[in-house]
């Protein structure tokens, strides 16, 4: 689902973080789909060295994944391995969410964990040795870092699935019969339904992923990892050249520490954000009690979730929900009856499915309602209350309705309804169909409908556009007051202080809006 402004926003993020050169390579991959290094060079007109370095940065930061395809026979050179690079759009978006990830972490873990992940987010990928060196260099007095405690921290984070081993550097993608190239990027919905990966991007990520047990493991036992060593050495990315000189070391454990590369597991964080989003949504609609119950249900079932976009949680009985509720401080004052009543409330809104005494969270429903509300709020603000009612009618019915019927049901004046409908249609919020009836006298009816799939894509593009605009405005405002911001505090007096206060407020407002808008992007893109 790569839209025009999705691409622009991603390129902007990369430009901000890594400069124009890397951004140019990134944009080329975003627009053209997977390419070989030769082709990147050709399209960007950069030197071989520049392209190589840009790709290395992007790989190191988990924004690009390399893969190999085997060219089929029949060409002059015979079958030939061919390395291509595919950009990971989602991971670029995650770059603006690092602060959110760290907040989650600080709520669940101690400072050492936060610092470790901070290092991983900053550098993209690190070995245990590198993590140790990094911790050492920022070591404060009286707060010594030792390798064992660092390893323990890492194990904790890996077990919680917030950190993972890096994927294979260059998996082999089996040739597929379908045509290749960017045209395939969008994939068809039907392909998704039967469980096939949708895009090349997804196929490559899938192919590169280590096996579950491997992905979330830290080898600490020296004896047992002899066989592991070989695999691990394959795991090193092209960006990590330092493995060779350590392989001869006697102790495999040490070798592992220097060769196995770890990175933050974005999926783990996004899953957590999704849960948080659901809890917040429930709290806004119902009350703290219902939010506590949902939160307890999530706590009890999250380990069974295999992917981010889980539809339903595994079913739980009332007693196991209650058991989980009273584990938390907030839930301790809830009685069994209170929990039961909250479950009924959750059921009324279809947030939870109840069947034969077991309860399961309907993630899709919660997210769908949250998405609806976001779009409805835009409609209400941009087009007014009548439009809001009309939009809700069409969105709820999900089918074509005729102008007159719409105006009757929504109590909108007959002469106003077509105007509102036309405006919504023109801006891409509705679909229109003309129906010509030929009878005694020919008459024409207009039918209207909300197509969620098309509209959601449109709204998401507007969100990316807005995110880009916010970011551009922040840089513009800060750039305008650059001198003032560099002034020492005691030199800011009178009007200068006023201007300083203004820019501070502007910055806070813009940056908090960026965070909030990103929540909406998460809701539409990632959840």
């Amino acid at each position: 689902m790569l839209t025009e402004y999705g691409t622009k926003h991603a390129v902007h993020v990369i430009t901000n973080h890594f400069g124009d050169l890397v951004a140019k390579v990134c944009e080329c991959l975003l627009r053209k789909g997977p390419l070989t290094r030769q082709n990147v060079k050709r399209y960007t007109e950069l030197s071989d060295e520049q392209v190589k370095n840009a790709l290395l940065v992007l790989i190191q930061q988990n924004c690009v994944q390399a893969f190999t395809t085997e060219q089929p026979d029949g060409f002059a050179d015979g079958p030939k391995a061919n390395t291509q690079y595919v950009v990971l759009f989602d991971n670029i978006l995650h770059r603006v969410r690092f602060a959110k990830f760290l907040t989650i972490l600080s709520q669940e873990f101690d400072q050492q964990c936060v610092e470790l992940v901070q290092g991983l987010l900053e550098h993209g990928r690190l070995t245990l040795k590198q993590m140790f060196d990094r911790a050492k260099s920022s070591e404060k007095e009286g707060n010594l870092v030792d390798l064992d405690s660092l390893r323990e921290t890492l194990v904790k984070l890996v077990t919680a699935h917030y950190v993972e081993r890096c994927p294979a550097s260059e998996p082999l993608l089996m040739p597929i019969s379908e045509e290749e190239g960017p045209a395939r990027k969008k994939g068809s919905k039907s392909a998704k339904k039967i469980g096939e990966p949708e895009t090349i991007e997804q196929q490559v990520v899938e192919a590169a992923l280590p096996m579950e047990a491997m992905r979330f493991s830290v080898v600490t036992n020296v004896e047992s990892d002899v066989g592991e060593k070989e695999k691990n050495s394959n795991n090193v990315t092209p960006g990590e050249k330092r493995k060779h000189d350590v392989l001869e070391l006697d102790e495999c454990g040490v070798a592992d520490e220097q060769s196995v590369v770890y990175r933050a597991n974005f999926e783990g964080f996004i899953r957590r954000l999704r849960h948080k989003g659901c809890i917040d949504h429930v709290r806004a609609h119902l009350d703290d009690g219902a939010a506590n119950v949902l939160s307890a249900m999530l706590q009890a079932t999250s380990s069974a979730e295999k992917k981010v976009k889980t539809k339903n949680s595994v079913p739980l009985s009332l007693s196991s929900i209650y058991e989980e509720v009273i584990k938390s401080e907030a839930g301790r004052n809830m009685t069994l009856d209170h929990v039961r009543a909250s479950l009924v409330q959750l059921g009324e809104l279809s947030f939870v499915d109840a069947s034969s005494d077991s309860y399961s969270i309907d993630f899709e429903k919660i997210i769908e309602i949250a998405q609806n509300e976001e779009v409805e709020s835009v409609v209400s603000k941009r087009y007014g209350r009548d439009a809001y009612r009309i939009f809700r009618l069409l969105s709820k019915s999900g089918r074509l309705l005729e102008t007159d019927k719409i105006s009757d049901t929504t109590f909108v004046e007959k002469k106003d309804a077509p105007k509102i409908l036309y405006k919504l249609w023109k801006d891409g919020y509705l679909l229109m169909e003309k129906l010509v009836v030929t009878g005694a006298r020919q008459s024409q009816f207009l039918l209207w409908k909300v197509n969620r799939q098309i509209l959601w894509k449109h709204v998401l593009d507007e969100m990316f556009h807005a995110a880009l605009n916010l970011s551009l405005r922040v840089s513009y405002e800060l750039d305008r007051e650059k001198e003032l911001l560099n002034l020492p505090a005691d030199k800011r007096t009178g009007p200068l202080q006023d201007r300083y206060n203004r820019i501070r407020k502007v910055r806070i407002l813009l940056e908090s809006s960026q965070m909030k808008l990103d929540d909406a992007i998460l809701l539409f893109h990632d959840f």
């Binding site: 976001e374 709020s377 209400s380 603000k381 109590f411 605009n469």
Partner: protein
């Protein structure tokens, strides 16, 4: 038809000219649907000059045989109907229309009454709301169940109430299982005013020019007046 025609044709319609008679018959044959002047002319079997038609219509109106009614679909057009008929729902717009316009005041009152009863009853079926309103004596006229239903549907679209199905226990004790009920939207809806979403709370979310806004365009986030206003501290 013929039964009603007799007694009427005693007095004024006896003294009609031939043209008037022709026009009157066409209008009257349309009963409670009435007819637009232009359409009527087309239906006349003979071709009458415009001035004769206009004169005849005037005369028929003076004799109180026909009247002009408002057609909600085309308010500007002259719509004629025989006096003994009341405009049908298609022409008048139904109970919610008064003189061709949506009776917004009336609708508002009925809406707030329905909402009041739903809040009072906590959970209510359509019948429950209808009875409760009748008992309250808020309206001189009786509202039909269909009217209440239309208003309740609009309240759902307003996000002031929500539709739920009875499960037969708790607050639904007196309501059969599976029956559709209505409840006040407790939170989030905030009196029907939708919660402002993330996109809607920044200028771009409600910007009418978003489609022509480009980073370096004539309209750009750097020069945007909506932004300037928003950031005016």
């Amino acid at each position: 038809m013929s039964k009603r025609k007799r007694p009427d044709s005693n007095a004024p319609s006896d003294s009609l000219t031939d043209h008037e008679r022709l026009i009157y018959d066409v209008i009257r044959s349309k009963q409670d649907m009435g007819i637009w002047t232009r359409d009527m002319k087309r239906e006349l079997r003979v071709n009458l000059p415009d001035n004769i038609v206009t004169k005849s219509i005037k005369s028929l109106q003076n004799k109180s045989l026909i009247k002009e009614v408002v057609n909600i679909h085309s308010k500007g057009k002259k719509h004629l109907m025989a006096v003994e008929f009341e405009p049908s729902k298609e022409i008048s717009g139904g109970a919610w229309y008064s003189e061709g316009s949506l009776d917004t005041e009336f609708i508002k009152v009925v809406k707030s009454q329905c909402l009041k009863q739903i809040i009072k009853l906590k959970v209510a079926t359509l019948e429950g709301i209808s009875d409760s309103i009748k008992r309250s004596g808020a309206f001189k006229v009786d509202l039909t169940k269909q009217q209440i239903e239309e208003i309740v549907r609009a309240l759902v679209l307003d996000n002031q109430i929500m539709e739920v199905k009875s499960n037969g226990s708790g607050e639904f004790t007196n309501i059969p299982v599976g029956k559709v009920c209505y409840k006040n939207v407790s939170k989030g809806g905030g009196g029907g005013e939708p919660k402002t979403g993330s996109l809607a709370s920044i200028p771009c979310g409600v910007c009418p020019q978003i489609n022509i806004c480009k980073p370096d365009g004539v309209i750009s986030p750097k020069t945007c007046v909506y932004y300037t206003k928003w950031l005016d501290f």
